[in-house]
Symmetry: C2
Subunit: 429 residues, 2 copies
């Protein structure tokens, strides 16, 4: 990134020296993990550019939007309806959470035994390294796990920007009603902050934008069902990560261009790895940018990742909002759509087990890698049921528990290689 | 305990050899921690007896109740209204969760990074060491933390007895309504299982029994406000632990006898430790029997524990249900009473901070020890706010994170001794 941004970063209160170091590390990692891949689709060039400007041009755009009176809203979770934010002319962005940054600072507030993602978002803020959290006017949290639920209390002490939506623990009628009311309350909150009512025409336009983004992500997912796979899991993961912070209209256009290229590759039988490369589905905890660890281990070990049953992945785009005739109807649909996401925060959550097997079948996955961040209790516990369910469907299952550090990469590589051998032999683990 | 129970334990499917070993360890621990205390109230004799028969006579009683057609209901949490269970002529008991037992078995199902209490209840069951879980006809779980919420899914797979109540994440109007409905559904469930309606007269009788128990526990708490303290924190903790599984009418009678003795001690200025002994309040995670670790360290180090802002403690008995004229009114009061408990599962939970300072003042505590089980995220995070709030009130604060093992006892003792020195000097930590 250019020197020209230093003034902007300084005005946002970032720690300039540490930030420069972070960008250098990220750039090296991107070079090593992404740009070293062979036979990438040409249209990935746009996404490479977006990553290179993740703390640059995109922040310029956010600050411009703010200067035009637009609300910048930071979120952490696919349960927050982006449509509402766009309907008040706001900008929705994911916040930095995917790297070990400011860990020591974060551990002054949070237990050491907290997952890397939560320590990450606290650490990025405390170390002055996230231009997104500094640009945000409002940060929307949600009660999806103990760690986030309680961290937001402290995050609000620090940022004074946090608004928490209550997600229920069960998908009961009462839980659904509570969640619907939470979405109504978010609409009221957004109106109160911006002075803009949620008007039907604006909401329809917002919904068209967000559903178009979801459709493009569905196209990307569908393309990965082919053998040979026309795109690497790493690149597909990156696009899913970028979907949380790029301008949605531009992103959708560029992703559809990429998908056209992928369709052409499929017609011509071109892939990023040979036909017959072992195909794996990943299921579990979210992977925030730049958490590319597991995909990179798998694809460097001779496998290919064909899907992510995860919030940074299929859960984010599988269901569209669809048509509606009134704001009230739209809010009901938003509540139904999002509570249809099978996050491990719910009990029971059998729908997720069905999702894993459905995705395996649709994407011709030959094995499931269950990924949980260390200390992410909901997914760590669900690994038990997922293993039983995947193996009952005849596929091998590998359970990975890790964090953002690189210390266990060698050990994970050994386990992944052994698993790929099992997959090649077509037997349950 | 007598050999006579072996047949009963065998019929419950316990692992007899391991069980004998457990009882021997417990008996030694009790001898060393409890019976070695000096100047105990004479009326503690009853509670000593109850502990000695915890897996014996009380189980005989439960099996007798079952043979008379009574429902035995196991619970883990103060949010489950005992009144409803008694109103259908059921017996309410807490389940074993206070010792490192069956850990290796439990870790086959739960992540290693799970709190000792949750691994404890899984482990007790899996190792065949809990006659309570075997006697129970129904086990009522609740969604108070990620670990329990997800563990109950697996616990139900294993026991086929689990019914989960959904507790909300916020004390909003919607959350309160959802919780009220959950209590109504529990009433329906208990009726469905027993064939007995929740009748007003039976519910009134049940409420009299439970409120009388709460009143007796309040008397015990009030007695501890005096200096010298007429009873040790260890003994008071034990009584609170026993309140979860003893027959409530007998328990209340015996506790009131003890309280009469404590009142007499107060009148005569008799204490278990000299006047002026440093007085500490403990606040945090629940301490299931036989988890006496922190109290025993504090009292062996020259301090006295004067109260527990905890579920095994004040949260369990502070508020009475009181009078009602209809079943519907009673259910509303049960919902209001229990959601008034300030568990760290709620966000925000500022009420707990006020409770800690109120209890400190009422009990003339000179310092607060914040106790969290390792991996108990909700309490570990709230330690941050509790420290600020306690120190703002002018009292020193000590943060303890531990488990059931004895490995850190030396280190904890050193920290507690240093804290007691600070307390003696009357300055914030």
């Amino acid at each position: 990134m250019s020197e020209d941004y230093r003034e902007m970063w300084g005005s946002l209160g970032l720690n300039l020296e540490a930030h420069q170091g972070l960008l250098a590390v990220l750039s090296d990692a991107y070079q090593g993990i992404y740009l070293s891949q062979e036979n990438r689709p040409a249209a990935m060039q746009y996404f490479d550019f977006v990553v290179s400007e993740v703390h640059g041009l995109r922040i310029v755009e956010l600050l411009k939007a703010k200067s035009e009176g637009k609300l910048v809203v930071g979120t952490f979770c696919v349960y927050v309806p982006e449509e509402l934010i766009l309907a008040v002319d706001g900008v929705s962005i994911g916040l930095c959470a995917g790297a070990d940054v400011g860990t020591e600072e974060a551990e002054k507030f949070m237990p050491r035994n907290t997952c890397a993602l939560i320590k990450g978002f606290m650490g990025f803020k405390l170390a002055g390294l996230c231009p997104y959290v500094e640009s945000a006017d409002l940060i929307i949290g949600e009660t999806t796990c103990d760690g986030k639920k309680k961290a937001y209390e402290i995050f609000d002490e620090i940022t004074k920007k946090v608004y928490v939506m209550e997600l229920p623990n069960k998908k009961s009628d009462d839980g659904r009603l509570l969640w619907r009311h939470e979405i109504e309350r978010l609409a009221e909150k957004l109106t109160a902050v911006t002075g803009k009512e949620i008007a039907l025409d604006r909401l329809k336009e917002a919904s068209r934008v967000v559903d178009a983004k979801r459709r493009a992500l569905q196209r990307l997912s569908d393309a990965r069902a082919h053998d040979p796979a026309p795109i690497s899991g790493l690149d597909a993961l990156l696009i899913n990560q970028i979907s949380f912070y790029d301008d949605p209209i531009r992103f959708t256009g560029k992703l559809n261009e990429l998908c056209d290229e992928l369709d052409e590759r499929v017609r011509r039988g071109v892939g990023v790895a040979p036909k017959g490369t072992p195909r794996l589905l990943i299921s579990g905890s979210p992977m925030a940018i730049p958490n590319w660890k597991l995909h990179s281990i798998i694809e460097q070990s001779g496998g290919i990742v064909v899907g992510e049953e995860a919030c940074v992945g299929e859960r984010n785009f599988r269901d569209l909002l669809g048509d509606f005739s009134t704001v009230d109807e739209a809010i009901g649909k938003m509540a139904d759509r999002s509570i249809g996401i099978n996050c491990a925060c719910f009990t029971p959550n059998d729908g997720r087990l069905a999702d894993i097997n459905d995705m395996s079948q649709r994407l011709h996955s030959q094995g499931v890698v269950h990924y949980a961040l260390q200390f992410c209790t909901p997914y760590l516990v669900e690994a038990h049921g997922a293993k039983n369910s995947v193996e009952a469907a005849g596929l091998p299952f590998l359970r990975i528990e890790t964090d953002y550090s690189m210390e266990d990469v060698g050990q994970l590589k050994t386990r992944v290689e052994a698993f790929l051998e099992i997959v090649r032999q077509g037997r349950p683990s």
